[in-house]
């Protein structure tokens, strides 16, 4: 298990063009990042490509990590998520039916995992639970599925502007809850 300091150290060395550090960073983090790509894309081939693109970007942009003000795993996961979301947006331009791309049926933690995780629940889960269910689902849908405002509005069967208002208010409540 790698600590934040270890990952940060590796990123610093990657910024100095240290290939051994890049390989070590890959060993330490690629499984998590691949999991994230798989969860967002629900498509193994696309997730593999996104993982590759992400690590190319990690090599090319490691020097920007410090300036961003993120913690190391957050930076890595956010970068990977951005790649995956871009992929979804490209995919959607190509096909009207977003379900075509899905080939992984299980999207979330198993019931066992959920039970185990519940005692150490992330703060965001508790705070999202304080919102109404469709608001909470909208935030998750945007983050984990890359859904757009229009798609969220369609999914929840509300007008676009209603969804915008819901989301903005929910974000403010979420921020307040998480800053306690």
């Amino acid at each position: 298990m790698n600590t934040r300091a270890e990952i940060e150290g590796l990123l610093g060395r990657v910024a100095d063009r240290d290939r051994a550090a890049f390989s070590a960073l890959y060993s330490a983090t690629s499984a998590k990042l691949f999991g994230v790509a798989l969860r967002i894309l629900n498509n193994r081939a696309e997730a593999e490509e996104v993982l590759q693109d992400a690590f190319v970007k990690i090599w090319q942009n490691a020097d920007r990590y410090i300036a961003n003000g993120f913690s190391p795993m957050t930076w890595l996961i956010t970068l990977t998520r951005n790649q995956a979301i871009d992929r979804i947006r490209t995919r959607k331009l190509a096909t009207a039916d977003i379900d075509l791309a899905r080939d992984v049926s299980d999207k979330g933690p198993t019931p066992e995992q959920a039970l185990l995780a519940s005692s150490e629940r992330a703060q965001i889960d508790a705070c999202l639970d304080e919102l109404e269910q469709d608001r909470s689902a909208a935030v998750r849908g945007a983050y984990l599925d890359g859904l757009s405002y229009q798609e969220l509005a369609d999914r929840h069967d509300v007008p676009l502007n209603t969804m915008r208002t819901w989301l903005r208010r929910s974000l403010l409540k979420l921020k307040e809850c998480m800053t306690k």
């Binding site: 499984a31 999991g35 090599w59 993120f70 996961i77 995780a117 998750r140 903005r168």
Partner: protein, 237 residues
């Protein structure tokens, strides 16, 4: 939108931005503001720290080994350790062959000379050699000889005449047959030196062309040769 933004508006906007919900105009306007606004950047970083918690229950999945190989190939052109510098950007910029044909002063003359030169005096060898190349630049008096053992992927490089310019280095590239994209094999920082090539790159060298360029001390920072001094077609012994 008014100039004086309500702090809550920015909190929500930063959240929408982080979620990826803004349309392209909105995203562009926000990013313009981000450029000069550290407080706004902090809001975005804050949002990402919070939202990333949604990935905590995502299980790690081991990716197939070939993915790392592909990443290394994309970034470094080969897997061996000697590569230290930036990747060739395969999709960007002027094609190498057009660069060779059109741009460099006196290069046409160098090409003709390289073809006219006798194959070369074989360099002292370490082990069997299957392929050789000589790269010469009359302008600088530089002569670099390379010998490849395809079976092991060992490429021996020796600068027999001439030197890099003061404070600069010579970098070696391979252009695979049928392509015009140079792939860096590293800086020639010792003479003689042996570079260990992966089977794929060794094959590209065996059937391709080598080039030497003049670069900053630690090699090209663009991933492409910036000042080619000479090339040499690799010949079978």
């Amino acid at each position: 939108m008014s100039d004086t933004t309500d702090p809550e508006d920015d909190i929500a906007l930063a959240g929408e931005y982080s979620l990826g919900l803004l349309d392209s105009d909105g995203r562009h306007d926000f990013e313009v503001r981000l450029g000069g606004n550290p407080a706004l950047r902090k809001l975005v970083a804050d949002w990402h720290e919070k939202l990333v918690q949604l990935t905590e229950t995502i299980q790690p999945v081991q990716p197939p080994a070939r993915i790392k190989h592909q990443i290394d190939l994309t970034l470094f052109g080969r897997r061996a350790r000697r590569h230290r510098f930036v990747t060739p950007k395969h999709s960007a910029g002027v094609s190498f062959m057009r660069f060779l044909a059109g741009g460099v002063v006196g290069f046409g003359a160098v090409m003709v000379l390289a073809l006219a030169l006798p194959l070369f005096m074989a360099p002292p060898q370490v082990g069997p050699v299957s392929h050789v190349a000589q790269i010469a630049d009359p302008g600088t008096g530089l002569v670099v000889q390379a010998s490849l053992d395809l079976a092991t992927g060992a490429l021996r490089v020796k600068r027999t005449s001439g030197e890099p310019a003061s404070g600069r280095s010579l970098e070696l590239w391979v252009i695979a047959a049928g392509t015009d994209v140079p792939v860096s094999l590293g800086v020639i920082d010792a003479s003689p030196m042996v570079i260990r090539l992966s089977p794929e790159i060794a094959q590209q060298v065996a059937t391709g062309t080598l080039a030497v360029s003049d670069e900053p001390k630690r090699g090209s920072i663009t991933g492409r040769p910036t000042n080619v001094l000479g090339t040499g077609k690799v010949m079978v012994l």
